[in-house]
């Protein structure tokens, strides 16, 4: 099993860079969305980075993930081109989906990223299908369904978990419990209050981890992947986490205590926690992490400028790619 104790400096630095890249991507979007230049509806992943990265660092391009409406972090962690993503979010013609999907529908099939999904609970049935393909091909690959505490209340997710157990496919359900289903608390909306126990009730091997701890997520995912690859069937991971912004950009977040986000930024910031751990263990030097920060900020600067300068789609694009042949 690939456990975090065996990650060398290169891998650790890469994990940190992925988390930092997601954070800065989202922080910058928060600023840019306020200018009104980005069309539509955007849900930021800031605060949850260790979950996407802890999970996807255990995967390769031939493994699959399905994502959610809050999908930027999953896309980046699975290796989607961030420049193409930024252009997509700006609705540009050479965005990752040619401007036809936008923030909530970013996909990159070649990277095993089967799409962000604007329907809560829409993805897990698809992940079971990808897991069927993995099992049939026999290459030891796995399929991951990301979802939130909100999706955990959808019937489609129940169906998907049960079918994954019945068919014993290599599917892993990752529930990012950020405490809120849109504007309603998880303590209210999850009747049993316990997503991990619920997953166990479906016959899945399930565990609950601190979602702000990259190492904890990575290790839990390692156990789930190892089980799946060995033919041991599906698993679930509940990652307890917080989101630093609202359900969508522009959400006044009246449902949150005034100091909640500030408190969480202090105690549940995966980047701070990662840095502290590196400092204590000495695996990476401050200067290495600072260099990553600078490189990431420069990259974000460049992709935002590129996205702003990129041309929008042309009217003829409206009609293409509805079908392959019609």
């Amino acid at each position: 099993m690939s456990d975090s104790a065996r990650l060398d400096g290169t891998r650790l630095l890469r994990a940190y860079r992925q988390m930092k890249l997601i954070r800065e991507f989202e922080e910058r979007l928060h600023v840019e969305i306020a200018t009104g230049e980005i069309p539509g509806f955007t849900h930021l992943y800031a605060g949850q980075e260790a979950v996407a990265v802890g999970v996807c660092e255990q995967l390769g391009d031939a493994d699959y993930i399905v994502s959610t409406h809050r999908g930027h972090g999953h896309c980046i962690a699975k290796g989607c081109d961030v420049g193409g993503m930024m252009k997509e979010i700006y609705g540009r013609r050479d965005g990752l989906c040619h401007g036809k999907g936008g923030s909530m529908h970013i996909a990159d099939i070649d990277k095993g990223m089967l799409g962000a999904n604007a329907i809560v609970g829409g993805g897990p049935p698809l992940a079971v299908g990808a897991a069927i393909a993995c099992k049939l091909r026999g290459g030891g690959h796995v399929s991951v369904a990301f979802g939130g505490d909100g999706s955990a209340n959808q019937g489609t997710v129940f169906e998907a978990m049960n079918m994954a157990v019945v068919l014993q496919v290599p599917a892993i359900f990752v529930f990012e419990n950020n405490g809120y289903s849109e504007h309603t608390g998880c303590d209210y909306a999850v009747g049993s209050k316990d997503l991990t126990a619920r997953a166990r009730g479906f016959g899945l091997v399930a565990e609950c981890v601190d979602g702000a701890d990259f190492h904890a997520v990575y290790d839990a995912m390692g156990r789930a992947v190892e089980r799946a690859r060995a033919g041991g069937g599906p698993s679930a991971i509940e990652a307890r986490i917080t989101r630093f912004y609202g359900h969508f950009e522009g959400d006044p977040q009246k449902y949150r205590a005034r100091d909640e986000v500030a408190r969480h930024r202090e105690t549940m910031d995966c980047l701070k926690r990662f840095r502290e751990r590196m400092r204590a263990g000495g695996e990476l030097a401050e200067a290495q992490l600072d260099a990553v920060d600078a490189e990431v900020l420069a990259l974000i600067e460049r992709i935002v400028a590129d996205a702003k300068a990129a041309p929008p789609p042309v009217e003829a694009d409206l009609y293409t790619d509805v079908y392959i042949h019609y």
């Binding site: 699959y64 399905v66 965005g95 990752l96 989906c97 040619h98 401007g99 036809k100 999907g101 529908h105 996909a107 990159d108 099939i109 070649d110 089967l114 799409g115 999904n117 604007a118 329907i119 829409g122 897990p124 049935p125 698809l126 992940a127 079971v128 299908g129 990808a130 897991a131 069927i132 393909a133 993995c134 099992k135 049939l136 399929s143 019937g155 489609t156 169906e159 998907a160 049960n162 079918m163 019945v166 068919l167 293409t320 790619d321 509805v322 079908y323 392959i324 042949h325 019609y326």
Partner: protein, 337 residues
Amino acid sequence: MPQMTMRDALNQALHQEMERDERVIVLGEDVSGGAGGTSGEREASGGIFGVTKGLLPRFGAGRVIDTPISESAIVGAAGGAALAGLRPVAELMFADFVGVCMDQIYNQIAKFRYMFGGKSRCPVVIRMAMGAGMNMGPQHSQSIYALMTAVPGLKVVVPSNAYDAKGLLIEAIRDDDPVVFLEHKALYPRKGEVPEKPYTVPFGEAALVREGEHVTVVAIARMVPFAERAIDALAKEGITCDLIDPRTTSPLDFDTIVESVEGTGRLVVVDESPPRCSLAADIAATVAERAFGRLKAPIAQVTPPHTPVPFAPALERAYVPGPPRIEAAIRHVLKVS
């Protein structure tokens, strides 16, 4: 050429495509049946209508997958497996069950290619048994092709006979877009000549089932044999009709229909789904738009009433448009001028 039922023609198509392409899998409720039962007998079912019989013994449980009663997971799994490179044929048993998995059909598989900017392929076939005539009541008898045809990104197939059913199903499995394949359950026992070898029937090409000069009749699925009976009866009086079977409602071969109406000047559309926002209304509107000047009489739409499909045999008979109503409609458009 061997005579074969539509059921056997579909079954043969599945066998031949699974043989030809190992990426083809079949999944659904009771597609083989028997798993977990006390008799130990696998393939206790072979599909509720027997269309998937023999697949499990031939191709094994890895490719012939019995699922729980979970339509969203069935259709979603088919979609996800298709994105991941397989060519799944999902069976939804009764078309009415789209109600519990509509999201996976119309928000997910229908939209992937477009919203992912043309970078995905989702070659999934969703087979469903539709139609009234077997006293199965309001939730097991509907003809849902109008609902499916309204969704951009889906192709919709409505075979009326065994020959077309086999060729269209093979075409559907080989097609790279998502296909909803609607099998009228009253047509499963209908026999016709079916070649043994695999062949395809292209989408978007209507069949001219009868040729005539006075009226154009367009009929869908089970309405085709009903229209044949009405038209053949009228032929004895010297009234002849073009009978057009669109075979697929998305894409729909409007050109053949318009061309025929330009010759006859009269149109009767026979549709087993309710009249509002129906295929009949769609075809009538398009013909009115494209061939208004050639029409000699108002277009007649022969449809059930705007009601659910009733259970009692007497009511169901009154619901389904049969040969007498079709014949009356043809006479009606000939009288009006």
